[in-house]
Symmetry: C2
C-alpha cells in the first residue's frame, strides 16, 4: 500500500517529451518552408492539433512565421487563430491573405470570435466584422458592448433550455427534434415562464432516466448562476471552486442570456495564474516569449526603475553610517546578509499571502491569525539563523559583540519581514490594488532599509 | 467599440465579496458552536456549498474546528472531505466519529476515495478501506497500486463505451436501458472488439442526431488517449492545451480502463500552479495557511538556510576588498545597488523561463533565440540604468570615475542576470530537476557574487 509519503512506492515524473513540440518535426517543417514545398508542409502539419500549430507559430522567428503562413495558405484553420497568444495573433492576422482570414474567422464559434476581436485595433476589428454574416456580426457587437473582462464577453449565446415543468421524455423529444443545438453543451437549463434559470440537468442523467420523470427530480442540487457583468476572475474562481462544467448567465433582470463553459473559464484561470506569477516578479503580464528585444526591455523597465529607487533609498540609509563603516569595515562585509535574509523571508510570506488572497483562502476570518503566525515564524526562524550567523560573525571577526549585534539585527529584520510580507498584500488588496503587482517593492524596500538600519544602528550604538 | 486597450471602455474589477466566505456568517457559525446550538449551526451551514464549508474549516482555528465538527456530527457531508486540503483533512478524519466518517466516505465517488486515501498514513487508510463495500475497496486498492501522481490514480473506472459500429439509435437505447450510468459523464467512448478506444461522441451531438446515423459519423475529430502510467502533470497539460472535457485512459495494451474528467484535471492544474509559484519563493509546496507555527517554520527553513550560505559567499567576496572599502567608503554605500538590480533582473528572467518551461512554450526550438534576447535585454536595460546610476553616483560622491565604474558594473551584472536567469532553469529542467525548485538560489547567488565582485574589482583597479 503506497502511503502519502512522496518517497515511498514508485512515483511518476513529468515526461517533457509528451505533448511538447518535437524538435525534429519543427526542423522538418522549417526546411519545407525554406524550399517552399507546400505539399510537404501540409503533410507535416496534418497530424498536428490546432493548439500545437499555434505553439509552433509562437516559437519560430517572425520571418519564418510569415513564410510558413504564406505557404500554408488555405490550409490555415480558424481554430489556430483562437489558440494563438495575442501578440503573435495580431501579426498573423496581418499576414494572412484577406480571403483566408475570412474563411478562418467563419470557422470560429461566437465566443472565440469575440475573444479574437477584443484584442484588435479598430481597423482590424472592422475588417473582421465585415467578413461575418449579419447574425454573427450583430452577436459579436453585442458581446463587445459588455465590459471587458466580464462574463458577457466570455459567454456563448447559444443555450439549451427547457421549461421547468417538463418531463425527461419531453426534453429528449425536444432535443432530438432540434435542428440547431450548440456545438458544445452539457446541460439543459430549466427556466421559469419569465426565463429565469431554476436549475439544470446534466445530459448524462437525462439519458439514464425514464421518460415520465419530471426534470426537476433529476436536476442538479448545486446551482450557480453567473451575473452578466461579473468579472471573469470571479467567474473562473467559481468554476474552479465548485467544479462547474457549465453555468448559466443571467442579465440584470435575472433572465437567461447565455452560458459559460469550462473551457473558457479555464483559459481565464490560466491567465490569472500567469498574471500573478509574472507580476510578483515585476514582469508585465502580457509578456510572452515571442516579444522582441525592444518590447521585452520596455516591459521589464518599470519594475526595475522602482527597484532602483528602492535600492538608492537603502544606500541613503547606509550612508548615514559612513563614519561607522569607515571605523569597522566588518560592517560593510556583513550588512548585506541581514538585508538579504530579510528579503528572502519577506518574499516567502508575500508569495504565500498573494496566492492565498487569489484563492480567497485569506479572508477577514483568518487574517489576524495568519499575521500572528508570520510574526512567530519570523521570530523562530530568525532566532535559529541568528545563532548561526552570530557564531559565524563572532568567529570570522573575533568579536563576540559583533556576533550578538548581527544576530539581534537578523531576528528583528525577519520578524519585520514576516509582518510586512503578509500585511502589505492584505492592505493593498483591501484598497483594490492587485497585491501581486505592488507588494514586492514595498516589502523588499522595507526589509532592505530596515535591515541596514537596524544592523548598522545597533552596531554604532553597541560597538562604537 | 471597445478596443484591446485595457483603459478604454468600462472594465470590470474583481469583486472580493463574490464567493468569499462572508465574515458575518463565519462569526455567526462560531457563535453557534460556542453556545453549542446544533439547530442554529445546521441552519447556518445549510445554504453553504461543500467547497465553502471546507474553506470555512480551513480558516478557523483547530480548537473551533474540532468543536464545530463534533457539533455538526451527522450532517457532515462526504463531499466536504474531498474538498479539504490535506493537512486539515487528516485532522478532520481523526476528529470525526467512526460512523460519521464511514457514512461520509461511502458518499464519495471512487476517484475521490482514492484521493482521500493516498494522503493518509497506513492505519487511517486501513480504517477507511474497512468501511467501504467490497467492490469499492477492491477498486480503491487497485487505484492505489498505480504509481503516485499517475493517470491511474486520477481516473474513474466507471466509463461509458459503445462498439464502434453502432448507430446513434443503438447507443441511445443502450444508455436509456442502462441501470448504472456514472454520476458524471459527457462522452461515449467508441471501442473496437479488443476494447481499444477509437474515438468518442459527445452526448450533446448524440442527442441532436437521427437514429440511423453511425456513431463514427458524429465522433469527435480530435481524440486524445491517456496512458495509465502518464504523469498527472502531463495529463493536466493535455486537458488545458487541448481543451478536453474528458479523456479515455488505456492500459499498457491499449485497452480502455477508465476515464479522466476535467474536474480532476483542473485540481491537478491548480496544484501545479501553486507548486511553481510557491517553489520559486522557496516555500514548500504542501504549505497551507492552516499550518501551525512550527510546521510553517520548518517548511520555510531549508530555502532560508541555502540563502544564508549564499549570502555568506557574497560576503566572502566583499571581504576580499576589505582594504579598498576602508579607503573609499562610498563603495560600501553603493555596492548593494549593483547586486540588488542584478537580483531583480535575474528574477524577472527566471520567472518568465520557469513559467514558459511549465507551459512547454520554451523548447529546444526557441531556447537559443530566447537566451540571445535575454542577453540583449540585459544589455539594453543595463545601459539605461547605468546612465542613471552612474549620474547619481557621480553627483553624490563628486567622482566621475566612480560613476563610470558603477555604471559599467551594473551593465555587466544585468547581462549576467539575464543569461543566468534563463540558462539555469533550462539546464535544471534538462537534468530532470524542477526548475522552480532550485533555480532561484543559483541565479541570485550568481548575481550577488558577480555584482559585488565586478563592482568592487573594477573600483579597486580603476579608482585605487
Amino acid at each position: 500500500m503506497t502511503t502519502g509519503d512522496d518517497t515511498a512506492g514508485t512515483e511518476q515524473s513529468r515526461d517533457d517529451d509528451a505533448y511538447a513540440l518535437d524538435r525534429k518535426t519543427v526542423a522538418a517543417i522549417l526546411y519545407a518552408v525554406d524550399i517552399e514545398d507546400r505539399d510537404k508542409l501540409t503533410e507535416l502539419m496534418e497530424p498536428l492539433y490546432a493548439a500545437d500549430i499555434a505553439d509552433l507559430l509562437e516559437q519560430i522567428n517572425p520571418y519564418d512565421r510569415t513564410r510558413l503562413i504564406r505557404l500554408y495558405d488555405r490550409e490555415f484553420d480558424g481554430e489556430i487563430l483562437s489558440e494563438l497568444e495575442e501578440g503573435v495573433r495580431e501579426e498573423v492576422i496581418r499576414v494572412l491573405s484577406p480571403d483566408v482570414l475570412a474563411e478562418a474567422v467563419r470557422d470560429l464559434d461566437s465566443d472565440d470570435v469575440v475573444d479574437l476581436l477584443e484584442d484588435l485595433d479598430e481597423p482590424e476589428q472592422k475588417a473582421i466584422l465585415g467578413v461575418l454574416e449579419d447574425a454573427e456580426r450583430v452577436a459579436a457587437q453585442k458581446a463587445l458592448s459588455y465590459p471587458e473582462n466580464s462574463a458577457g464577453r466570455l459567454m456563448q449565446r447559444e443555450v439549451v433550455m427547457a421549461p421547468e415543468h417538463w418531463t425527461v421524455g419531453q426534453a429528449i423529444d425536444f432535443l432530438r427534434a432540434s435542428d440547431d443545438l450548440p456545438e458544445q453543451f452539457y446541460h439543459i437549463i430549466l427556466v421559469d415562464p419569465r426565463l429565469k434559470p431554476i436549475s439544470y440537468v446534466s445530459l448524462g442523467k437525462l439519458m439514464g432516466t425514464r421518460r415520465e420523470v419530471p426534470l426537476k427530480d433529476i436536476a442538479e442540487e448545486d446551482f450557480h448562476v453567473i451575473p452578466i457583468d461579473q468579472d471573469e476572475e470571479d467567474v473562473a474562481y467559481a468554476f474552479n471552486q465548485y467544479h462547474l462544467i457549465s453555468a448559466p448567465v443571467v442579465d440584470q433582470d435575472g433572465r437567461l442570456v447565455g452560458v459559460i463553459t469550462i473551457d473558457d473559464a479555464m483559459i481565464v484561470l490560466d491567465e490569472e495564474y500567469e498574471e500573478d506569477m509574472l507580476r510578483l516578479a515585476g514582469v508585465s503580464d502580457d509578456s510572452s516569449l515571442s516579444d522582441s528585444v525592444a518590447t521585452t526591455s520596455r516591459r521589464r523597465l518599470p519594475w526595475l526603475a522602482v527597484n532602483l529607487i528602492s535600492a538608492i533609498c537603502a544606500s541613503l540609509v547606509i550612508s548615514q553610517f559612513e563614519a561607522e563603516i569607515d571605523q569597522l569595515v566588518a560592517l560593510a562585509i556583513l550588512m548585506p546578509i541581514v538585508a538579504s535574509m530579510g528579503g528572502n523571508a519577506g518574499t516567502q510570506s508575500l508569495t504565500v499571502a498573494v496566492r492565498a488572497l487569489a484563492t480567497r483562502d485569506l479572508t477577514g476570518s483568518n487574517v489576524a491569525r495568519v499575521i500572528r503566525r508570520e510574526l512567530m515564524v519570523g521570530m523562530l526562524n530568525g532566532l535559529c539563523f541568528a545563532i548561526v550567523l552570530g557564531t559565524v560573525g563572532m568567529m570570522w571577526f573575533a568579536s563576540p559583540m559583533l556576533g550578538v549585534v548581527i544576530g539581534s539585527a537578523l531576528v528583528v529584520n525577519m520578524i519585520i519581514a514576516g509582518f510586512a510580507g503578509t500585511v502589505v498584500p492584505v492592505v493593498l488588496d483591501r484598497l483594490g490594488v492587485d497585491p501581486a503587482l505592488a507588494s514586492g517593492t514595498f516589502v523588499t524596500t522595507t526589509t532592505d532599509v530596515m535591515g541596514f538600519f537596524i544592523f548598522l544602528g545597533l552596531a554604532s550604538v553597541v560597538l562604537l
